[in-house]
């Protein structure tokens, strides 16, 4: 149900006067993250490639802690890079915003702070973000990780990367390093991205080690350290010697591998420093480039009809995949490292795909016949685990 424009405008006007006062006091006492960012940008602004835009306020919403060494920290880092490199952009952030109507109220607060572009970064924010866009035609709303099947409102877009590309490279590192041929995957929810990631991880692993198998445990939470630690322990005592994960926060899983003296392949954030010897490699989000492009388009009035007013998906082929291969650890042999690098280059070629057929599901059915290269949309709706994955998905 659209929010009546008249009501919204009057509310904004009402809110402006006290807000200006508030922000003056605020900047005087200096406590907010945006303030710190401003300081940082003036300090190091000279060297970075600054992008000049018209003045604009941009909001970022995160579902977890902005310091989770994972998904949300990557978003936060991206927002801070924007603040640093785009001096006319006022960055507003909110973390720990649960996936409920709280999303709407948080976006409302951002708009009343003058935000004209809002990045809703959690998967479960999708409906709230889209509805908010419909209700606020003058605010550009972007959803991170969603996939809009219907027509796009002129002020709405989604963006993501072909996450399974670097994940398959991580699978290679895992498959090539394992001694037991058992890899463990701790995941949160059986959503399409995760299923594709699990499959890609196994495909990468078996490409260098046909005996490698990936064992699954799900935690049904984006960040529940207790469940993660139990899942990791269960996998480790199964003989698994490489752990990887798909939750927002990854400290627990890395720590579990570290304690057991086993290996870990990270996801979301380069956390090599947490476990230098056990860290094989991982995937790390680098959101800043796409954030900057979207904000520049929005500030310049060219958002509508642009590639960002759609389902934007970066990939290796276009050299714009926001999910990148993280640093490769010292436990990965030089030979394996060379194979991973070669595969990364190969994936950049047109027509290359992690999921190039033949791909066979667990039950033996052929997902993609030999020679078939699925589209991103197809990969994003895979509902089967590939052969070599041990475990089942909760029925849907």
């Amino acid at each position: 149900m659209p929010f009546p424009v008249s009501a919204r405008v009057s509310r904004t006007t009402l809110a402006v006067v006290p807000l200006v006062a508030a922000s003056l006091v605020l900047s005087a006492c200096g406590s907010s993250s945006t303030k710190n960012v401003a300081a940082a940008s003036s300090a190091s602004g000279a060297k970075a490639s600054t992008i000049t835009t018209p003045k604009i306020a941009v909001g970022f919403l995160m579902v977890g802690s902005k310091k989770d060494y994972g998904y949300n920290e990557a978003v936060y880092d991206g927002s801070q890079a924007v603040a640093k490199d785009m001096p006319n952009v006022n960055v507003i952030t909110a973390d720990n915003v649960p996936e409920s109507n709280a999303v709407t109220t948080a976006m409302d607060s951002m708009v009343s702070q003058g935000a004209k572009v809002i990045f809703a970064s959690s998967y479960g924010y999708f409906q709230y973000a889209e509805k908010f866009a419909v209700a606020h035609p003058d605010v550009i709303v972007l959803h991170q990780g969603g996939f809009q099947k219907d027509a796009f409102p002129a002020n709405f877009g989604t963006y993501w990367g072909q996450a399974f590309e670097p994940v398959s490279l991580g699978g290679m590192a895992a498959g090539g390093t394992t001694k037991t041929n058992k890899l463990g995957y701790v995941y949160a929810f059986p959503i399409p991205q995760t299923i594709a990631n699990i499959d890609a991880f196994q495909l990468g692993a078996q490409a260098v080690n046909p005996k490698a198998q990936t064992y699954l445990v799900n935690t049904s939470s984006w960040c529940d350290p207790v469940k993660q630690s139990q899942a990791a322990a269960a996998l480790l005592s199964q003989g698994v010697d490489v752990l990887t994960q798909h939750q927002d926060c990854q400290g627990t899983v890395i720590n579990a591998a570290k304690k057991a003296g086993k290996y870990v392949v990270g996801y979301h954030y380069d956390a090599q420093s947490l476990d230098p010897s056990g860290w094989l490699t991982g995937s790390a989000w680098n959101w800043a480039p796409i954030y900057k492009k979207i904000i520049a388009a929005a500030a310049g009035g060219t958002f509508k009809g642009s590639p960002y007013n759609a389902n934007w998906v970066g990939d290796f082929a276009h050299d714009d995949n926001p999910l990148t291969l993280a640093s490769i650890g010292s436990s990965v042999s030089a030979d394996l490292k060379a194979k991973i690098t070669a595969e990364q280059t190969a994936l950049k070629q047109p027509g290359a795909s992690v999921f190039k057929g033949p791909i066979v599901c667990q039950d033996g059915t052929v997902l993609y016949a030999a020679g078939v290269t699925p589209t991103y949309d197809q990969i994003n709706s895979i509902n089967c685990l590939v052969k070599g994955v041990v475990g089942t998905l909760p029925k849907s």
């Binding site: 509310r11 809110a15 807000l19 915003v97 959503i191």
Partner: protein, 386 residues
């Protein structure tokens, strides 16, 4: 599992239970109990309100709570005055934020009344959270099943009734366990919260998962006919009116009906109530059922008016906030409603604090706690009935 082989089980001396256990109606017990309330509570409350000293202490307590919160904000590097300002700003400063505050208060007011009603009978309902969740679950089930087959008002009614019924059953379980097996309802309602949450998760991750939700754990969205209509072009919806009417109804039930009176008698002294021929067990159970129905309705209205789709974590801590609101309002319907609206505002203001002041949004939980804490510190509650 054998509990009998435990150390000490046979040798519990020298304090033996037989020496100490007192009969339920022993003089000591009765003395310790709150006096049976025989006059209208509202009258008593009015007398209390005119007690300026008491009011002064209460106001002082809240000022102290705000001050303590300001100190915490200052420790975290924010200007306390800016903090209060942006809290007001994001909750009561303009029509938009006032609407958000009242929207949020719909489930919290009803869940708080769900605490207040059983409290009259001396029962403690800590299960508002689970009752809200199952109310939302039932409303979703009915709403999605009905789809667009029936006109809006009918589906609103069906969803509301289903939500109330689910909440009633959930609280009723605890009521029955209490009155038949003497299982402590404060603990059973608490456990039922976690079970309710798992039931909801089970449904939205598997059988009820939206096939068009790209795998997200969520139910199918309600048909737009089934969504509660907005009021006068605002973001408020019909649920607010329903909640207001129900709240008045609760006040009437408790203050003006024989049932409400009987609950108070039971709450004052069950043994005396039993001797006076009151049906104590049915009264206890009915108070829980009515309470559960209120919270369930709150969950249903929140779903049908605000969320329109069942997702994990849509009700995080509403039920517990409501419990504290009811306690703060001393289970008096009018005060409970006021306390609930204020608590809804505080809970909501976390956004503003984070966005304008760079504070952690969860800091509002501290203020919620402090506001309940302050009167406890400044005014001794010990022997009061409430």
């Amino acid at each position: 599992m054998s509990l009998t082989s435990e150390p000490g089980a046979e040798t519990e001396t020298p304090v033996t239970r037989d020496d100490l256990t007192v009969e339920f109606d022993s003089p000591t017990m009765v003395e310790e109990r709150p006096a049976v309330v025989t006059t209208g509570e509202s009258l008593a409350d009015r007398i209390r309100l005119t007690d300026w000293h008491r009011t002064g202490v209460t106001v002082g307590a809240y000022v102290a709570a705000l001050a303590a919160f300001g100190i915490l904000a200052a420790v975290k590097g924010a200007n306390p005055f800016t903090v209060y300002h942006s809290m007001l700003n994001s909750t009561f400063a303009d029509t938009g934020s006032i609407q958000q505050t009242f929207l949020r208060s719909i489930p919290i007011v009803l869940a708080a009344l769900a605490v207040a009603v059983p409290a009259r009978a001396g029962l403690v309902n800590v299960g508002g959270e689970g009752q809200i969740i199952l109310g939302a679950v039932a409303a979703t089930g009915v709403g999605v099943a009905i789809g667009s087959h029936v006109p809006g008002p009918l589906s609103w009614l069906a969803m509301g009734l289903a939500g109330a019924a689910a909440g009633a059953v959930w609280a009723g379980i605890a009521g029955v366990l209490r009155s038949t097996l003497n299982a402590n309802e404060s603990v059973t309602t608490l456990l039922l919260n976690f079970i309710a949450n798992d039931i909801m998760l089970y449904l939205i991750y598997q059988p009820w998962k939206d096939p068009n939700g790209s795998g997200q754990p969520q139910s199918k969205p309600l048909d737009h006919h089934a969504i509660l209509p907005k009021l006068f072009g605002s973001s408020l919806n019909l649920g607010l009116i329903i909640a207001a009417v129900v709240a008045i109804g609760v006040w009437y039930l408790l203050q003006r009906t024989g049932w409400g009176f009987a609950l108070r008698v039971v709450g004052g002294n069950p043994e005396a109530a039993r001797r006076a021929g009151l049906p104590v067990k049915p009264l206890l159970i009915s108070s829980m059922v009515v309470g559960g129905a209120l919270a369930g309705l709150g969950g249903a209205l929140n779903l049908a008016g605000v969320e329109t789709q069942l997702r994990p974590g849509t009700t995080i801590t509403f039920g517990y906030i409501a419990f504290l609101a009811s306690y703060l309002g001393r289970h008096n319907p009018a005060k409970v409603v006021v306390a609930s609206v204020v608590f809804s505002a505080i809970a909501l203001s976390g956004n503003g604090l984070q966005i304008s002041n760079g504070l952690d949004g969860q800091i509002v939980n501290v203020l919620l706690g402090l506001i309940v804490l302050a009167p406890l510190i400044l005014a001794k509650h010990g022997k009061r009935s409430a």
